[in-house]
Amino acid sequence: MALRFEVLGRFNRARAANLTLPHFLCQTPLFMPVGTQGTIKGLTTNQLEEIGCQIILGNTYHLALRPTSELIDELGGLHKFMNWPRALLTDSGGFQMVSLLHLADITEKGVTFQSPVDGKPMLLTPEESIQIQNRIGADIIMALDDVVKTTITGPRIEEAMYRTLRWIDRCIAAHKRPNEQNLFGIVQGGLDPVLSYAIGGLAGGEDKDSFWRVVAQCTAALPEDKPRYVMGVGYPLDIVVCSALGADMYDCVYPTRTARFGTALVTEGVLKLKHNVMADDTRPIDPTCACMVCKNYTRAYIHCLVTKDAMGSQLLSYHNLFYMMKLSRDLHSSIIEGRFPQFVCDFLRKMVVLYAFFSLCHIHHVISVVTGIFVYLRELSCWGQGMSGSMIVFVSIR
């Protein structure tokens, strides 16, 4: 196997580890920015290194379309193509097919779909997905899974679970570079062990209560000695929660996408720089942030750039990713240094109180957030500290 996972510190179910991959030694918990088409939108690889990115995710579906996995292979693999010296992860391509294409259909053979280039019927099999990912050459590759919407109920879920298991076996058989690329299997409603684990099919609109319960269930059942990757997560709060529950890796387009819409991630939650009230706010986006953007720019200036000039997206993406990388580092170091519960309580205190006040129209979400927090506050033994006291008061006001 081309991966080493060494747990360096724990608190209850949370763990901090060194994840050694062929191209880079990563520290978990970590967040992976999504570089869909071989680039993170608006940032150079130099900037990503400076911010502290360890792994970037590339979307197999997009890259197979353009510039094609054969071309990437011919030019030496995706690392060389984008000039990214650290680690890469590719997904199987299945999720995009199901979510982006009309007339995508899943059979036992694979995912059948209409080619977006010429409309011809095409088939993505588990074998083909692995071969494409072998050509792209990422450190971590994903097995093709039978993805179902989390909002679906009934026998389809069970069917998807068993099919995913059969497909994982086919993926393992088709994998040609097991010494250079690590295959991650995806847990879809089932809990049987595979090589390494990704928890998929979540982060698709289910309510937070169920989301956290499922993650908690999976991490409880999966082996301790392999990394767990929760796909499509996401919001900083979700990452903190899932790390407390024992997950190690996350990816999401949220930080970069929300930057392009003018929203910055800050200690208190989010800051919408598009709002007119920002037009003469001469404070930095986040006074506690050490990034180049917060050190040099005011909210007023960013306000006049966002949604109008490319530079606005670039600067906000830079800040948001810096925030996520710092969150990853803080999670890792707080676990190792034995102060994880304090970190989590501090994080929640700053975020939830203000978040609640500004989310007057999202009462239900906030309450389920709070309820979910109770679920694992028990885990963290935070009862009896000031934190939970203010939470109870808050809930009763609402």
Partner: protein, 355 residues
Amino acid sequence: MKFAVKAWSNGRARTGLLHLGNYPNPIETPALLLPTRKGLPYFISPDLLPSLPSPDSHLLQVCPLHFLEGLSPKTISKVGGLHQMVGLPEYGFAAVARDSVQCLPECNSTNKVGASFETPCGRLLIKPADYVEMISSMKPNIWATLADEVPAWVSDKRNKTSVDRTVRWLDECIALSSAGGAVFGSIVGGPSVEERERCTQEVARRNVSGYWIGGFGLGESMDERPALLNAVTAILQEEKPRLVCGLGLPEEVLQGVAAGIDLFDSEYIYHLTLEGFALTFPLGGVGVNVFSFDPNNLGSDRSKINLRATIYRKDTSPVVENCSCYTCQNHTKAYINHLLNVHEMLAQILLEMRP
């Protein structure tokens, strides 16, 4: 700002040194001003600017009208001026009302009260007082006075009026301004050598630190330009720097240099970047690279290549061999070709850094 001529050619061309108050190293002229949008380059973020050659890349051009889109002069003053606002305290800014991309002068709507511009906020009439208010809050190193620019095909009467207005507004701007920063007197005159001379004589009489020569890049041909430029530079005092806007192609810039111009804008780079071009002409000038002239190259020629062309799909060489810029040191033509095809912002960032 201090400027001194260093050396002369046989004709009017000269090299010089431009000293900015806030940056220790002088800038050698002839020099280009980097185009900006609201004070920052279109695509090169401020932490990547140092990768451009220094100190040549330390002069930025700014159009005050960009800030009408959402940043009041009061707020700019509160932060301490343009340099603080955009986080570039050691860079030099030259403010010019017109910008060849988004704030184009609209001469039909200009009247005796102010100059009209087509901007992303619609058509705006800018009075000298408004303009000076913007300049005072921004505190650029250099600023050109408000001018009435007209394209080459207007009537003689309209052209004469533009000269009268420009001179009058120059006086107003100087009178109103408490800004500090070096004032560059604006010279117009359209396609008429006489009007150009008349305007230049008037402006030369005023107490300005340098000259901004406007009215170019608005539709006149390259052949007409040398006569007009020379008519202006013949009269101007030699120790004061001259800035011209609207000369795009490298050949046009060379024309300007020959006429004695020291500073040029470079909106041309912005257009090239958007179209996917990278400049490739050898700077030495003597050894000529032979480019095979392939009609499928989407407009590539001896000075530039269009990286959208399919011949670059698998080309793992840098844009220019042995080039020390960030883009050539880190990326291949194949990667830039891919980024252009999938409409990724990184393509423009890498291309803007290349020239």
